[in-house]
């Protein structure tokens, strides 16, 4: 894509293709390229080859899960009813998708409009994370077509999962509404934009209410099985607080991680505002994340003290716990603190990836690896379960990429009035100058 732009292709960042002629939806879908150019750039991308292999193997297996049942893709364990689909796909992805409510609240409620360039990425990250968590859930449920049952057919309000079901469905609607602004800008539906803008504050506040509760509720689910989760990962009084507090650095660092990947693979999509402010914003997000990490570490130690579990550190599980805390919390906490102080953005980005890894590890540990710690055996997931998890995550990445290639997430949609670009991508003169330079370099 970079090459195409260097050779003169115009990115779609406003309704107008050329004076008097607007982009059509098809053209917008194809990034303003011809079909040949589009397919060409897709084939040239080596990441797409990897995705191709993953989908070739994974998608038939996903179909097989629905045709042959869960017994074909899991070990049909009655002791380990929850496997990778939930431990990784749901419990892992949801805390990392808390960026939606965090950035929404920061900008709209706390008034931090300096974070606006990344607000949309935070909202989109949140929406896609929750959406694909539900996809993983649909794959995991025994009878996924009955998913609406707790909403409409039979109610079990004493159950924490009831709360999760209601909240996630409500929150998905909230997030769709928040992200829809970008979508309406892109397709040109100003009425929708105005309607959503009016209720943005209400959406944001409901977002933070719902998020606090269901991030916590996912943790509270494990209080149904107090003896089954290893004591170091379990806290009878504070499980939900652990899950909620860890989602704070999780979401912020996920946004940093995604913006890092984007700046390395698709910086052509950034507009000047985004490119100029990204480093500063990354540091701001890191500040929030490091406060979250410090708080999280403290409450973890507090809950171990609360139940006097220090003795467990001497066991094998104790050492594994220290590994998780080191990699996921302590090391990134110090890295971020140092990097914020010395303005080293690359170090912040590395720390953010460690936090994301640490969150996945924590949820996998709580829900799967240390689950049933009293039983004599650990379950190793079925290879098809692993394949499906990787495939769905790849679909998530592809959908993510599809959206940010097109919608005004990394750039601002320039309206009709300001086609004399104040925040254009490279101007045509700049592109010409670059092309000349390349030609000169090639000649010499």
């Amino acid at each position: 894509m970079k090459k195409l732009i260097a050779s003169g292709a115009k990115t779609v960042d406003s309704p107008q293709k050329s004076p008097g002629r607007n982009w059509t939806i098809m053209e917008k879908l194809f990034l303003g390229l011809t079909l040949q150019q589009y397919i060409g750039q897709a084939i040239r991308n080596p990441l797409n080859w990897i995705f191709g292999i993953i989908f070739a193997i994974g998608i038939p297996i996903i179909l097989g899960r629905f045709l042959f049942g869960l017994s074909w893709v899991t070990h049909s364990s009655n002791d380990y009813p929850w496997g990778l689909f939930l431990a990784f796909g749901l419990f892992g992805m949801v805390p990392l998708s808390s960026s939606g409510f965090q950035l929404g609240t920061a900008c709209e409620v706390f008034g931090r409009h300096d974070l606006e360039p990344i607000e949309r990425l935070g909202l989109l990250n949140g929406l896609l994370g929750y959406f694909f968590a539900v996809v993983y859930l649909m794959i995991d449920l025994g009878q996924p077509w009955r998913l609406p049952y707790p909403m409409a057919v039979a109610f079990g309000p004493a159950s924490v999962l009831f709360l999760v079901a209601w909240h996630v469905s409500t929150y998905l609607s909230v997030q769709i509404a928040e992200v829809s602004v970008s979508f309406f800008e892109w397709i040109g539906f100003p009425i929708g934009i105005r309607a959503i803008r009016k209720i943005t504050l209400g959406l944001t506040v409901s977002g933070i209410i719902l998020s606090t509760l269901h991030q916590g509720a996912l943790g509270a689910l494990f209080t149904y099985a107090p003896g089954k989760v290893h004591p170091l990962w379990y806290s009878s009084s504070f499980q939900w607080i652990h899950f909620f507090v860890s989602s704070i650095p999780g979401g912020l660092c996920m946004v940093i991680a995604v913006s890092t990947i984007a700046s390395n693979t698709m910086s052509w999509r950034f507009d000047k505002r985004f490119r100029d402010s990204l480093d500063r914003i990354t540091i701001s997000l890191a500040k929030g994340a490091s406060m979250g990490l410090a708080t999280y570490l403290t409450i973890k130690l507090l809950s171990i003290a609360h139940d006097n579990k220090w003795g467990y550190f001497m066991t094998g599980y104790g050492q594994w716990y220290l590994v998780e805390i080191m990699i996921g919390v302590i090391v990134p906490m110090f890295l971020l603190a140092y990097a914020i102080h010395h303005n080293k953005v690359t170090l912040i980005r590395f720390g953010a990836f460690l936090v994301v890894f640490g969150i996945f590890l924590n949820r996998l540990n709580t829900a799967y690896i240390t689950f049933n710690w009293k039983l004599s055996y650990r379950e190793i997931p079925h290879w098809r379960e692993v394949a499906i998890s990787i495939t769905v995550y790849s679909i998530y990445i592809v959908v993510y990429r599809f959206i940010v290639y097109r919608l005004p997430i990394f750039y601002q949609w320039r309206t009709q009035e300001e086609l004399a670009p104040a925040y254009a991508t490279e101007t045509e003169t700049e592109i010409e100058a670059k092309a000349l330079k390349n030609a000169e370099a090639a000649a010499s």
């Binding site: 869960l70 009655n78 449920l141 009955r146 924490v160 509760l213 939900w240 300001e418």
Partner: protein, 305 residues
Amino acid sequence: MKRRDFLKGCLIGGAAASLGVPSKSWAVGSFEGYPDAMGVLVDTTRCIGCRSCEAACNKEQKLPEPDVPFDDTSVFKEHRRTTEKAYTVVNRYEAKDGQKPPYRKMQCNHCNEPGCLTSCFVNAYTKTGEGAVIYDAKVCVGCRTCMVACPFNIPAYSYSSAFAPVVKKCIFCYHTRLKFGKPPACVEICPREALTFGLRFDLIKMGHERIRETPDRYVDHIYGEKELGGTSWLYLSRIPPEQIGLDETVGNEPIISNVKEFLGMVPMVLTIWPALFSGIHLLATRNKDHGDAHHNHSEQEDGKK
């Protein structure tokens, strides 16, 4: 406020307060079980591992053919658990005192306040007045939280079914027997009456009486009398319950006690958060032109480059 209004208010308030006199039931914090609930006393000192109970359950509940005949005792080589094909299994344990190895029948314990029932978000489980914890397959979504919540690891899932997998567990023969006051199939067939059927309250007294009359035969504990808020299936044992596979660390609180803290917090958050964050919003954005911030920045910074 005028004096008259104040006095009126006091009168009305006083009347309202006196009407709402809390009855005794408000103070009850635990559920002791329905008064006419039945139960089964499992006397593991009487069990010889003949597995007739497994056979009877298999036929009564119309379960599929087992992998191994029911009179085959080689199954005791390893500890089994309940599965989608076996609502109850008998396991053999080691007797560390050199006496005969004890056997224990494992099945749903039909707790007074079950973890499965508490955790189900479509209310698929019901604790009936007769004491059985039964399951409604018609609303089950297959989330398998009940399997996570059961401290005894009893519910099994019919993973082998592609289109209608459901939870499988002992239902105390409710639909075919308990509803009509009859004992479950396993109790009826047991040749040595290791399983005694009766009112739960009576069984507890009976169990304590057995311990009192033959104290050398039993550990002085009825497992399930208080565990997890009480269960309908109670166990007597010659050796500590831990050694016959009964978890002694479960405590006397029902599973829901662990979750109540969080559940109680939910309406608090739903009420406090809106005011809290609206308040923060007002504090944070006072005097700042919040409305303009939504418009394109280009308008404010036009010409700046």
